[in-house]
Amino acid sequence: MPVSKTSTLPVTEESDIVKVRQAVRTGSLEIKCSLVDQTKVVTAASELARNLLIYGGGGEVRIQILEEGLRRGLRVIFEDHGPGIADIEQALKDGFTSGKGMGLGLGGAKRLVSEFNIVSKVGEGTCITITKWK
């Protein structure tokens, strides 16, 4: 899948979550998403960036503009080298939280995007990829 642009953002502190929101919004505007789709993907990114910081111990966010023929998309990758998720299926369930959250971040983010992929290994880290197609 041809990636026409990539930008990378570190997530090591709270203010980085805001930066990720802004960068994802810029990306969604670039592929000319509808307002609702913009809001959804930025909200999903906010959830996942926060998880990255709080549960992943910080990491990196990569934002890519995709072009597949006439179709344009926005891909956001959240990668950390944190503790990893032991039971992914459980983590995706609404209401499940290993911390003090509401337990909506992972499952919720999945519902807000077109494609959602999660790879995680205990002791090594987690990589979550979301894609919003225009």
Binding site: V42, T43, S46
Partner: protein, 117 residues
């Protein structure tokens, strides 16, 4: 970055308008400030205008829910006004119910709701 969100007092109501993309700590600061001010002023109602917010994620949603719950304990009612349609749609999809949080379309309707209670 803003230090705190300003809170206005109008008779026995507290008014807040969130104009910035809040980072988490600012949201928690607002939660604390509002709770303290309800207590100090004896306010009966809190109106939170979120018409400038383009994104309300589960953290902000939880803060709004907390503010509402804390206000209720202190015998005050909270109304959140001005939620953008795209935000409302996203919140439903996210699964955030905002239970216990009253909402109104705009400041006027929110004030009317507070005055009636």
């Amino acid at each position: 970055m803003a230090d705190s969100i300003p809170i206005l007092q109008l008779d026995d109501l507290l008014l807040v308008t969130i104009q910035v993309d809040m980072h988490d700590r600012l949201a928690l600061q607002l939660q604390d400030d509002l709770t303290r001010q309800i207590n100090e002023t004896g306010a009966r109602g809190v109106l939170i205008d979120i018409s400038s917010l383009e994104v309300v994620d589960s953290f902000i949603g939880r803060v709004l829910g907390n503010i509402s719950a804390m206000a209720r304990v202190l015998d005050a009612m909270t109304v959140v006004v001005g939620m953008r349609p795209a935000v409302a749609i996203t919140l439903v999809e996210l699964g955030l119910s905002l239970e216990g949080v009253h909402t109104a379309l705009n400041v006027s309707k929110g004030m009317a709701l507070l005055r009636r209670s």
